[in-house]
């Protein structure tokens, strides 16, 4: 760790002397050894991603040689067509998107509603206990309730993507309520009171005053809910009975059996499943990163 922390007592002392030109020069001095170490470390992320892309564009003949790092020569984009058909990409993509969208909407509404009621009625025992009750699920891993939930969803005809979305939302509830209520406690009550004096009902106050103020927290909660739902394999694979209605992560398992050696097709399929979140992340990373950090600070 000492290699990572280069702030020696001498430089720190120099920095503490409020000497603007010297201080600026020190801040500008780049720690190149550390930069290089980090760049090498980042290969641990970049190489698997490169392998996925490279493999996807190889021919079957080149893909079986085991050398994942080689460039895809000859360049072969045909695997994507095959992967597209084998996974019924438009269907599984739509199912994934539908489940994730439903999860996000349900999570945002249920947890912001509940948190608002809880925070504004904290003096009432019922609301305090409800908070503890909802939060208890933080310690409840899905496998514990999986078997009865599989039976329940089958019984009430929710052994389909809608049931998966409901369960995804349920498992986001505790964490989201925790984030929302921490945030809501910091909103001064005076804002609501003036709206109430102007004759707004609680319902109107929620939509016109509280919800706009919750903006950044909505982004955080929404991002968490979306990623958890979009990337999940466990719940859809156990809950959804119709294999034709499976999500993208689940349909990838066809490459584990019958198409075991068509690595190029499998990787083309993996790439198509991974790409959406990575692309969205690269464009919206400010929101993702600030979302997680805010979540951490608030909780």
């Amino acid at each position: 760790m000492s290699a990572l922390d280069t702030r020696s007592p001498a430089t720190a002392t120099a920095r503490s002397l409020t000497d603007p030109p010297r201080r600026r020069r020190r801040l500008e001095r780049v720690n190149w050894p550390l930069t290089i170490i980090l760049a090498i470390a980042s290969l641990s992320v970049l190489i698997p991603l490169y392998v996925t892309v490279a493999m996807a564009f190889k021919t079957s003949a080149q893909a079986v040689d085991g050398n994942a790092l080689s460039l895809p020569l000859p360049f072969n984009p045909a695997s994507f067509v095959e992967a597209w058909q084998l996974t019924r990409f438009p269907v599984s993509f739509s199912v994934s998107l539908g489940v994730a969208a439903l999860t996000v909407i349900a999570t945002l509404l249920l947890s912001s509603f509940a948190s608002y009621a809880i925070v504004r009625n904290w003096h009432r025992r019922f609301f305090r206990w409800s908070f503890v009750y909802l939060l208890a699920a933080m310690f409840l891993p899905f496998p514990v309730v999986a078997l009865p939930q599989i039976k329940l969803t089958a019984m009430i005809s929710l052994d389909n993507p809608i049931g998966v979305a409901i369960l995804h939302a349920m498992f986001q509830l505790s964490f989201s309520v925790l984030l929302y209520s921490a945030f809501l406690r910091s909103i001064p009550i005076e804002l609501e009171e003036s709206a109430r004096i102007d004759g707004a009902s609680t319902w109107q106050i929620f939509w016109r005053v509280i919800l706009p103020l919750l903006g950044p927290m909505n982004a955080t909660v929404g991002i968490f809910a979306f990623l958890a739902s979009w990337n999940d394999f466990m719940m859809p694979s156990l809950i959804t009975a119709d294999p034709g209605l499976q999500t993208l992560p689940v349909v990838q398992n066809i490459f584990q059996s019958q198409f075991g050696t068509n690595y190029n097709v499998a990787f083309a399929s993996y790439l198509m499943a991974m790409a959406p979140t990575i692309v969205v992340y690269l464009f919206a990373q400010r929101w993702v990163i600030s979302g997680v950090t805010q979540g951490a600070v608030k909780s």
Partner: protein, 318 residues
């Protein structure tokens, strides 16, 4: 009740015009009741759905753990028979041994690497923002797909590389080795969960004012001393969040294992979650619900223990 106290009958009534004191009071009381009802309406959907889809199934499942229910048909009470059988079932004990060991190793590996990366990125590093973006990418990728990609790397690329440089031990896929397969699962799980921990530690580090470091440097504290006496104590809250969330996630490990080893070779990497799910297909419903109940108790105990230990530590530091 706080929001009602400053309301006077006059200001509460939005409609202008003459109103007697009696109607004012009446309206105020009416609005009070309506307001309260609205709050209940806000809370009830979450409570009802949560009860119906999580708590009720959990209770039904725990109930069946005391029976011989197969998942269908008739059942009889067995008392604690299932629980007694669990303790002497080598498959169950094996899965607990693997899962607990895996969770402990992974949480340590993840926290150390994530904290080191977070500290390194907080220094005067070139391209810090870009590097951080790269390090966070694994967080947004599906665990099962990552596991499939690494599955190929472990079973094809790594042996091919080892063969070409003549390095014996890695010429066979580590996924096929009962003694090494768990290592692959640790690597991929850490790969996937480091970003979240890294971001939380970054948040923790930025919350430490820089003059604390400057003051300690004036007092002659070196790099290690600063890490031990300033950084770690001040971000201990973040370490707690990360380990509690991490351990809970690793205890429930499923996706990554399915994609890498599917519990094999044999049952060397079979996690508790995987054995519980066999209750769905093998007719062991009641027995695996007993397993799930024990698993739940262990998960809660570990979380509570972690919180208690760190709370004690915080007190000592303060």
């Amino acid at each position: 009740m706080t929001m009602q106290t400053p309301l006077t009958p006059e200001t509460e009534d939005p409609r202008p015009g003459p109103a007697t004191a009696a109607t004012r009071v009446h309206r105020r009381v009416g609005s009070l009741h309506r307001t309260e009802g609205m709050y209940y309406l806000f809370l009830v959907p979450a409570l009802v759905l949560f009860t119906a889809f999580v708590v009720a199934p959990a209770c039904v499942g725990i109930f069946y753990s005391f029976t011989d229910y197969l998942g269908f048909g008739q059942w009889h009470f067995l008392g604690l028979e299932n629980y007694r059988a669990l303790v002497s079932d080598p498959a169950i004990l094996g899965s607990y041994g693997f899962t607990l060991g895996f969770a402990v190793v992974t949480v340590i590996v993840t926290q150390v690497i994530a904290l080191a990366l977070a500290i390194a990125l907080s220094k005067r590093v070139r391209f810090a923002a870009g590097l951080r973006s790269v390090f966070v990418i694994p967080m947004v990728v599906s665990g099962i797909i990552v596991a499939y990609v690494f599955n190929y790397l472990f079973s094809n690329t790594l042996p091919a590389l080892a063969t070409s440089v003549g390095f014996g031990p890695l010429q066979q896929s580590i996924l096929g080795d009962p003694n090494l397969a768990w290592l692959a699962i640790v690597i991929v799980s850490a790969w996937q969960t480091i970003p979240g921990a890294l971001l939380i530690y970054t948040a923790g580090l930025t919350s430490i004012p820089s003059d604390v470091y400057e003051a300690s440097a004036l007092d002659g504290a070196g790099t290690w001393k600063q890490l031990r006496s300033i950084t770690l104590p001040l971000i201990s809250g973040f370490i707690v969040i990360n380990t509690v969330l991490g351990v809970k996630g690793y205890l429930g490990a499923y996706d990554v294992i399915v994609g890498l080893t599917n519990g094999g070779p044999g049952s060397a990497t079979s996690s508790v979650a995987m054995t519980i799910f066999t209750g769905f297909t093998s007719g062991d419903y009641a027995y695996q619900m007993a397993n799930a109940t024990v698993f739940f108790i262990i998960t809660v105990l570990i979380s509570v223990l972690q919180l208690a230990v760190t709370r004690g530590r915080n007190l000592r530091l303060a």
